[in-house]
Amino acid sequence: MNPVGLHLGPRNPVWVVPLALPLAIFASGELNRALLFVWLLPAAVVLAHAIAAVVEPWVPRRLRIAVMAIVAAAVVTVAEVILRRTQIGSTSETLLMVRLIAVSGAMVWPALAAHSDEGWRVRFLRAVGVAVGFAVGLTILTAARLSLAAIGLQPGDSVAVGFLVLAAGRIVVFMIRDRRRRSAS
């Protein structure tokens, strides 16, 4: 399976391999926050890895994670300044969460998981996969939490319910995987 398909389903960064758990829990509690993070995190991850792919051949291999993190921080700083100027997501809590994109697993993991002989295309595809997988996973998580809140379950947007919805999602993923395995054998 290609990296994009892999992170959309079997290794989804929200539902299966939690790479940005605090961001997913925070963003999925409210529609406006979800709308912001569903495009901002994927855009920041893809842009940072694209820039890092250009910079990294010029630095020693052992410095790659550090370079990746600094490039990500630069991208997030620019995004934060733009958000402040345009008054989008202007609460201090939202801006703090935007800053956390730079050190989230979704940002760092595509570089950390790279093999020493891996080409930049594979890694870039992995970053795109994580970004798209996060957007899809966050959309489903937000829809589930906000639906629970809409039908009258008052703490539907609380952190506890967020984790319970994630647990329920994992059970569904496990059941689908189990059924596929059985039908294959």
């Binding site: 391999v17 939690p18 790479l19 940005a20 758990l21 605090p22 961001l23 829990i25 925070f26 052992r62 410095l63 994670i65 550090a66 370079v67 993190a69 600094i70 990500a72 921080a73 630069a74 997030v76 700083t77 934060e80 300044v81 402040r84 703090l96 800053r99 956390l100 730079a102 050190v103 989230s104 697993g105 760092v108 993991w109 950390l112 609380s158 952190v159 506890a160 319910v161 967020g162 984790f163 319970l164 994630l166 647990a167 994992r170 059970i171 496990f174 059941m175 189990d178």
Partner: protein, 194 residues
Amino acid sequence: MSVTALVVTAVLTQNVILAQFLAPWPFPALLATPRRGALVSLALTVVFVWSATLYGIVYRTVLAPFGLVYLETITLVVILSVSLMLAARLAVALAPARYRLVRSTAPVLFLNAAVFVVATRLPQQVDRFAHLPLAAAATGAGVFLALVPLAAIRHRLDRARLPRALRGDTAVYIAVALTALVVQRLDAAIAALL
């Protein structure tokens, strides 16, 4: 803020994991066993103290006086990245056999949400610079108090005769959700008392 209030706030009411849910990634993997939970908490405490102190110096001498607070993300990430490289170097010098382990875990310890928030918030919250390492260590104690019981619950649930779908990460999420409800109630009770 008094030292006692600072420690109680960092350990309990503003607990990085249980109250703010700024769990390091990959969160469920850190809770595989109580021992791993304890080791990760101790390592995170060292990183909290180191990064909060270094960032505190830069924040109070450069960023705040010159109005460069908007550069705090990149400043902190540079500090964390340099620290990460130093930790890897130190590991090569002190324990070459464990170099691979350090190389794979160090990025997780230095580049995560909890370290970022602790290092950026404490210099703004703590009045006296001398209290900064203490507050950072207290935050680490709060992480220890959160991770070790959660790891123990996970370990116990993994050994219980639960359906396979409920084991592993699913058990972690359920444990965290229940703990979150308890902390929410505690917060409300403390607020009512105050």
